[in-house]
Structures are given as C-alpha cells and as structure tokens.
C-alpha cells in the first residue's frame, strides 16, 4: 500500500492555499516548533499519568481511611495543577505557532485535520474544569463526589491525546482528502483523523506518559529513600509511581514492535533512516551504534546483527526491507539525527523495562522493595533518562518525516511563514523557556519543602520505618 502511495502521490502534491513558494527559514521554524514541543510534551506526560496516580492513591485513602494516603493524593494533585497551569500556557504557544510558523500548512490542510484539534480543545476544557474542581474541592466536596470529579481528568487526558495523535498520525500517513491541480479538495475529516497510524502512535505515547511521569515521580521518592525517608508517605509515593512506570514500560515493548512494523509499512523511508539502511535488501541486518556516512552510504563502526532488521520490521528474517535509495537524496531525512534518536529511545526504553522488571520481580517474590542502594540510584536516574527517550522518540518520528510536513504531499519549506523575523522570535523564546524552567523548578522545590502534615488535619505517619 505504501509503495503504491509513493507512486500515485508523487505527481499530486499540494502547493498551498496561500500560494506556492515557501519562506526562507523552514529550518529555524522547525527548531522553534521543536523547542516548544520539547517543553510541552513532558508536561503532557504528567497531564496524562499524574491524575490516574493521585486518583489511585485517593482510592487507597477511601478504602483504608489512612490519612497519609490522603496527604499524598492531595500533594500530588496540587503539583499536578501547577504543572497543568504551565501546560496550559505552553500548549497555547503551540497553537499560536501553528499559525505563526506554518500559515500555509494551516490554510491548506486546516479543513482536513482541524476538527481533531476542536475535539482536543473540548477535552482540554474538561480537563481544566475538573482539575480545578478536584484540587480546590479537597475537604469541600463529599468524599465520593470528590473522587468522581477526578475521573473526567483521567478520561479527558486520554481523549485529548487521542485527537492530537490523530492529527500527528495523519501528518505521517495522510488520508481523507484528494489533491487536484495542487489544490486540496474533498476533505473527509473522520477518515483523516482515524488514520491507520493512530492506533500505535496513541498507545505508544500514552504509555510513554506513564513511564515518564512514573519514573520522574519515583525518582523524587527514591532520593528521599536514600536519605532515610522511608515512612508510609514516602514509601507509598515510591511504590505507586514505580508500579505505574514498571507496568507501562513492560507494555511498551510489544507496542514498540507494533509501531516499528507500522512504520515499515507506511513510511519505509523513515524506517530506513532509523537504521541507516541504504540498499533495499532481503534479510536486512540491524546495526547497533555507529555513525552513518552519507558519502559511503553505510553505517560505520556499528555492531551489525544479521537479519535482525527484517525480523523486527516484518517478523520474517528473510523479508525485504526498503532502503533509503528509493527516495531521491533531497527527499531523505537527515540520517544521523534520526538514527541516533531512534537508537537512544530503544536503548533507554529497554533499560527502563529491565529496571521495572527488577522492581516487579522483587515485589512478587519477597513482597518488599529491593534493598540495594543501586536500585534507588537507578530509579533517580530513570526519570531524566525517560525524558530523554521521550524527546528522542519524537525527534525520530518528526525529523524522520522530513522534508515533508504532510508526508509525501506537502514539503515543510512550502508550509513555512514568509516572515524573516524568526531569529529574533527564536532567541526570545529560548529566554522565555529558560525562565519558565527556572520558575517551575523553584516552585516544585518549594512545594516539596512543605512537610506532608500541612496537607491534612489528621495524623500522617512520618516516623521513620
């Protein structure tokens, strides 16, 4: 199907509703967009996963009546609200940037995918409403009503991801419209948004949200653990966060496999870029590490495992894997950036999965946490590593889509604004985000400095266990 699409679409490309001829600064615009996404996506992970985590802990409180659980759920929800507030503004920047940086993309394809954002906007609305009710409603709503007010936060976190990834899946495997004489016609929004890539992209990202939020939160309590904070409050924080992260990491393995096979089918050039595979070949090898040398058209200094790529991409060691050579050089993504990011994501993901396994096995066998200090040091490190894998994954898929903004239909440099003031905007934005990061770090430290007992009226178990 993909190869057929390659051939038919090659002659039917969109020129853009605001006229052909793009702007001068597509690369700078891409960097600006990438910067804003790199700030926003980690925040989204907390929006996806944190509500489920604090709701779970509140559930523990409702079942047992132990106020320590309530203190933890309350604290987490307050942190989540702060992160959500930052997500509100960084998400706003993104929607502005769609227009500011890519006016021709929006003008040409807004009618195809825009509905997805309208529905995402409604999800976002619901999330904003109920997170406010939940956080400000502690001790003011009835216990049941309060718990139920948390449910829409989790649900809308999922539906929001659903629609945003619907749009992204569509950009990577566009359907639901026709191109006639360079003009986009006959939009079918549902068909576009429920594109075949949605299933794996959504599952992959949704699990990533739990992995990132779980390991980052667990890291905080692991650091406390090493400093002797092992009371019920800290132990619960650690175990709950780590459980979410470990289960999600375990599930991510098969999902990653699914995603890889979908990319092999729908975007063979992207898969070839992940691997630095130039020649189309049967029984293709998988190369770990190394550097892609464009002049020689091969990966050098890597460890080559015969037939593994064919096995991974098509579940058949002799299957033919498409190489970069099918695309003219101008239509290939930058190989090293994409390949390195992809390998970083897979490598880190594997390590995190193993760490989660250690936790789960220890728990199942001994009903206790691991004793080695190295385990806790690894958990502390797992938070930043999970963030790196998250960003690397997005770099792999989005830079791997280049030079297309709509895969094989519209080029990124056709979509970009003709404005020539992007340098100033970019510099300004960098300063703003640095200030934002400093401010958030400052706030989270301040919140963490308040003892848990400030959250609830009852006794919180803080005696060192």
């Amino acid at each position: 199907m993909a190869d057929a699409a390659l051939l038919t679409l090659a002659t039917e490309r969109a020129t853009g509703a605001l006229g052909a001829g793009g702007g001068p600064d597509a690369l700078l615009a891409r960097r600006m967009q990438a910067l804003s996404l790199a700030v926003h996506i980690p925040i989204v992970c907390f929006g996806i996963a944190f509500p489920a985590m604090f709701l779970f802990v509140e559930g523990l409180y409702l079942r047992t009546g132990e106020v320590t659980y309530k203190a933890l759920a309350k604290r987490w929800s307050r942190v989540a609200l702060t992160i959500f507030a930052v997500g509100v503004v960084t998400g706003t920047i993104l929607s502005f940037e769609f227009g500011l940086l890519w006016p021709n993309f929006m003008a040409t394809f807004g009618e195809v995918f825009g509905v997805g954002f309208a529905l995402e906007g409604i999800s976002f609305f619901i999330e904003a409403i109920f997170i406010a009710i939940y956080v400000y409603g502690w001790d003011r709503l009835g216990r049941r009503a309060h718990f139920l007010a948390g449910v829409p936060i989790v649900v809308s976190g999922f539906t929001g991801s659903f629609w945003v990834l619907g749009v992204n899946a569509w950009m990577n495997d566009p359907t639901g419209f026709a191109v006639v004489d360079g003009r986009v016609t006959d939009p079918k929004p549902w068909e576009a948004l429920l594109a075949p890539n949605l299933g794996h992209e959504l599952t992959h990202m949704y699990l990533a949200g739990y992995i990132v939020a779980g390991f980052v939160v667990a890291g905080v309590y692991a650091a406390g653990w090493l400093r002797g904070r092992r009371d019920l409050y800290h132990r619960t924080g650690l175990v709950v966060a780590l459980s979410f992260a470990a289960l999600a990491s375990a599930a991510q393995g098969p999902v990653g496999d699914w995603a890889g096979r979908r990319v092999a089918d729908s975007q063979p050039v992207k898969l070839a870029t992940f691997e630095g595979l130039v020649r189309t070949q049967a029984g293709a090898p998988f190369t770990i590490g190394g550097v892609y040398d464009a002049d020689r058209g091969e990966v050098r200094y890597g460890i080559e495992i015969p037939r593994l790529l064919s096995l991974l991409a098509h579940h058949n060691p002799n299957a033919t894997v498409t190489g970069l050579e099918v695309a003219p050089p101008a239509d290939r993504p930058p190989v090293n950036v994409v390949r390195l990011s992809f390998q970083a994501m897979v490598g880190i993901g594997t390590l995190l999965g193993l760490l989660g396994l250690v936790f789960v096995l220890t728990w199942l066998r001994h009903r206790r946490l691991p004793r080695s200090a190295w385990f806790y040091r690894a958990v502390i490190l797992a938070g930043p590593l999970a963030l790196m894998a998250l960003i690397a994954g997005w770099v792999a898929t989005e830079v791997g889509r280049q030079p297309w903004i709509v895969y094989e239909v519209m080029r990124t440099n056709q979509a970009v604004t003709r404005s020539d003031g992007l340098e100033a905007g970019f510099a300004f934005l960098v300063v703003v985000y640095v200030a934002l990061a400093v401010a958030v770090a400052w706030l989270l430290r301040r919140l963490a400095a308040q003892p848990p007992a400030t959250e609830v009226a009852g006794d919180v178990e803080e005696a060192h266990a």
Partner: protein
C-alpha cells in the same frame, strides 16, 4: 453552515472577552493596587477569585483558534502570518501571565512576591492590548489573503489597532472590577466590595468615553468599519452594548452585583456581534467574504456535529464549575497577599503559614 461556525467563533470570542478579559482586568487592578501593605487586600481577592477558574477561562482562546483554523483555514493562515508580531507578543505574555499566577501564591519573601506579582500584572495588561490590536488589524481591513501579504507592522500599529487594544484593556478592567466587587460582597468583605465598586464605576465611565471617542478614530482610520457600526444591525448592536454598559453602571452603583455580571457580559457580547455585522459579508475585509473563506461543507458539518457532541459534556461541566465557584465551595479563605511574605530565614516556615 459557515454562519453556524461563525456563530461558534462569536460565542468563543465573547466568552473569552468576558471571562478571560476579566482575568486580565484583575491583573490590571493588581498592577495598580499600590504598595505591598496597601494593595495586599486587593491582590488577595484577585488571587482568590481567579484561582479556580482562570485555566478554564483561558481555554476559550484555544477554542476560538481551533474553530477558525478548521472552518476558515485560509483566513487563519493569512491573519497569523501578517499579524505575527502582536500575536507572538500576546503568546509570550500568556506564558508569563499564567506561570506567574501559578507561582505567586508560593512566594515566601516580599522580593519574590514583588517580582512574580509584577510579571503577572504587567503581562495581564500587555496580552489584551496585543490581541485587541490584532483584532483592529483585521477589522480595519489590513490583512489581505496570503502568506504575509500584509505589512507586518502597520497592519496592527495603527489608530484602529491601538484603539481596540486599549479598549480591550479597559473593558477587561471594567469587567474584573464588577466581578470582584460581587465576589467581595459574597465573601462578606464590604470594604473590598466598596473598593472594587469605585473601580468599576471609574473604569466603566472611562471605557464608555473611550469607546465613544473611538468612533471618531474609526471614522478617520477605518471608514468601512465605522459605516458598518453606525448603520443597520451594527448600529443596533452598538446601542445594545451602550445600554447594557450603562445598565451595568447603574446596577454597580446600587450594589446589585449579580445582575451586573450578566449585563456587563451582554455589553461585550453585543459589541462582538456588532463587529461581525459591521463587516458583513466579509471575514477579512475588504475582499475575503465569509463564504469564500469557509472550508468545505463536509468539514463544517463535522465540526458542528463534533462540537455539538462535545458541548453535551462541556456545558454541564462548565455549569457545575461556575455553580461551585458562585456558591463559594471552591474558594479558599480570603487572605491578603501581603504580610504572609516574610523572610524564609524567619524560622516560622512553613507551619506558621497555615
């Protein structure tokens, strides 16, 4: 279908101008509240009123953007390329405003509080100005169709743009004072209610005078818009807005704040509708009509159906939020935003803050 989508945009702009505008206006009163001691009570009330609702209020802006880029994509691309400067500055202001607001309750020293408070208050004034200026650029016919087809500076830095920017700041301040007076009265704080009542009356008069003087600016700078606002449906809406504005003043003067909330919202809604009627049939005057700008019917239908289904969940949720807020069930205890701030070295942190 295009008209229904335009209707959704009008609803979104009105809701954002009223609810989001009031949040920005609250920042204006924060900025002008005076020194730490004197302004502490005003700032405390702003903090208390905005906390549970500002995020939901802000989402109306996103709602407007997504409806426009789906239903009127060419207009969206043209507006965002030509008016990139004010829109970018507004976006930056939104980052500062939101973050500073989320942080400010956690300041521990007077210096931190001052820095965060000033950032919040200053950006609260800049954002509505730049958004208003962008609206002025569209309404005065300075945004042609195309990728940066208009002048990136003169399209918004002109008499109409500046006028609408200033009016956006003023009307936000007016709305905020009306809402805050009501919130203060409900919280049983008559001194604050009086303070906001005085501000509401002052801001109402200033906004009214500026709006009337503004018509003269429009007459010389944006004749088509002026003609639209002074005849037919445009004129009717201007009169409704003026009447609702005057009614609000009378209601505030007699301390009936709850109906004043509604009449002030009517004043804003009427002027938004008046603007749309004044430039009818154009979406981007003087050339791009609503029908030309509209996406295909399939998209518009999907958008209306999707938004309609979403509204079945959204409207009851919003109703629940505002009911809880108006019942005071989400509000924390009122505390002035001043003497809480003491050096972290004072040794009474953090238990004493409870």
């Amino acid at each position: 279908m295009a008209e229904i989508c335009l209707g959704l945009v009008v609803v979104g702009i009105t809701a954002y101008a009223v609810l989001g505008g009031a949040d920005f206006g609250a920042g204006f009163w924060d900025l002008t509240a005076g020194g730490a001691e004197r302004g502490g009570r005003v700032r405390g009330m702003v903090q208390r009123s905005m906390s549970p609702v500002w995020e939901a209020n802000h989402v109306w802006l996103i709602f407007v953007l997504v409806i426009v880029w789906t239903a009127f994509p060419v207009a969206f691309g043209s507006v965002f390329s030509t008016l990139a400067i004010p829109l970018f500055l507004a976006a930056i202001g939104i980052i500062f405003r939101g973050t500073a607001f989320a942080l400010r309750g956690h300041a521990a020293t007077i210096r931190e509080a001052r820095a965060i408070g000033a950032t919040f208050a200053l950006s609260s004034v800049l954002v509505p100005f730049f958004l208003g200026a962008a609206v002025g650029g569209i309404a005065s016919g300075r945004v042609p169709v195309g990728n940066l087809a208009g002048d990136p500076v003169e399209s918004w830095l002109n008499p109409t743009g500046v006028l609408i920017g200033v009016l956006a700041v003023l009307s936000g301040a007016y709305l905020a004072a009306v809402f805050l007076a009501g919130d203060s009265a409900r919280a049983g704080l008559p001194d604050l209610a009086r303070a906001f009542r005085a501000r509401a009356l002052g801001a109402g008069v200033v906004t009214g005078v500026a709006a009337i003087a503004g018509l003269l600016v429009l007459r010389s700078d944006a004749r088509a818009l002026y003609d639209g606002l002074t005849s037919g449906g445009g004129l009717a809406m201007v009169l409704v807005s003026a009447a609702a504005g005057a009614t609000t003043l009378a209601l505030v003067a007699s301390e009936r704040y709850d109906p004043a909330r509604w009449s002030s919202a009517v004043a804003v809604a009427a002027i938004t509708v008046g603007w749309v009627l004044a430039q009818d049939p154009y979406l981007l005057p003087p050339r791009l009509t609503l029908d030309q700008a509209a996406a295909s019917d399939a998209t518009l239908t999907t958008l209306v159906v999707g938004t309609g289904i979403g509204a079945l969940v959204l409207v009851p949720s919003l109703w629940y939020l505002y009911r809880l807020v108006l019942q005071g069930r989400l509000s924390h205890e009122f505390e002035p935003l001043d003497q809480r701030f003491r050096p972290t070295t004072a040794g009474d942190e953090p238990e004493a803050r409870r």
